[in-house]
């Protein structure tokens, strides 16, 4: 089974802190994604990566950066956390293969609270 893990289920940080959210997948997937999930808004794409050291902005990249130094790991960085970044953060991965059916596999999520 595909497994996507995230470093923390719950995280509480102070305004202005630098925050790192880590995501690791074990299926050798090429594509990795970071979403934030807010009630009534569904999932919104922050950043994605289709290869090591490659990154592309999603719909809401402001205030975030990402890093992908290894294929299996994709990190989301909040340079200076703000209260409006309090949210659920979901990581996902998918294969680039034609047989992948474009399915994304999700991690359990990190609920971040910024005080």
């Amino acid at each position: 089974d595909v497994k996507v893990t995230q470093s923390s289920r719950y995280l509480v940080k102070r305004t202005g802190e630098k925050v790192f959210l880590e995501c690791v997948q074990d299926m050798d997937h090429e594509n990795m994604f970071w979403y934030r999930q807010d009630p009534g808004l569904g999932l919104r794409l922050i950043y994605f990566s289709y290869d090591v050291k490659m990154k592309e902005k999603g719909d809401i990249p402001e205030g975030y950066s990402v890093s992908r130094e290894k294929k299996e790991r994709f990190s989301l960085i909040l340079e200076s956390a703000s209260t409006n970044q309090t949210s659920m953060y979901l990581c996902a991965s998918s294969s680039a293969g034609e047989s992948s059916y474009n399915e994304q596999f999700f991690g359990p999520g990190t609920r971040l609270t910024v005080l």
Partner: protein
């Protein structure tokens, strides 16, 4: 830009009954994929069912089936013989068919409660 709408924020159904979740989308693309994802309480989101736009036949996965109306841009999910484990948030999603890393556009979700 593509958009996905789910007009039912919350729904409930009696155990063993059938329920239909609605989804509409807006796109000018001719080739695309549609998905229903399920997010149980405090558990990981998983894919329920997938439909390729070029296929006229509606997708089916056990108790889950879709009614895909391409001209109407409608993609509803029918759950038959509802079970307590079907209680979850359900997200309808759209993806263009050009590359494997095309953005997936998610709807706002429908919270489904299955009542014993």
């Amino acid at each position: 830009a593509q958009t996905v709408t789910q007009s039912q924020p919350e729904m409930s159904v009696q155990e063993a009954e059938t329920v239909t979740l609605s989804c509409t989308y807006d796109t000018s693309e001719s080739n695309y994929y549609l998905f229903w994802y399920k997010q149980p309480p405090s558990r990981q989101m998983i894919l329920v069912i997938r439909q390729e736009a070029y296929k006229q036949q509606n997708a089916t996965e056990n108790r889950f089936s879709v009614n895909f109306q391409k001209a109407a841009k409608s993609f509803s999910l029918k759950i038959s013989d509802s079970q307590l484990g079907d209680t979850a948030m359900y997200f309808c999603a759209f993806m263009k068919g050009e590359t494997s890393y095309d953005k997936v556009i998610f709807g706002p979700g429908t919270s489904l409660s299955v009542i014993p």
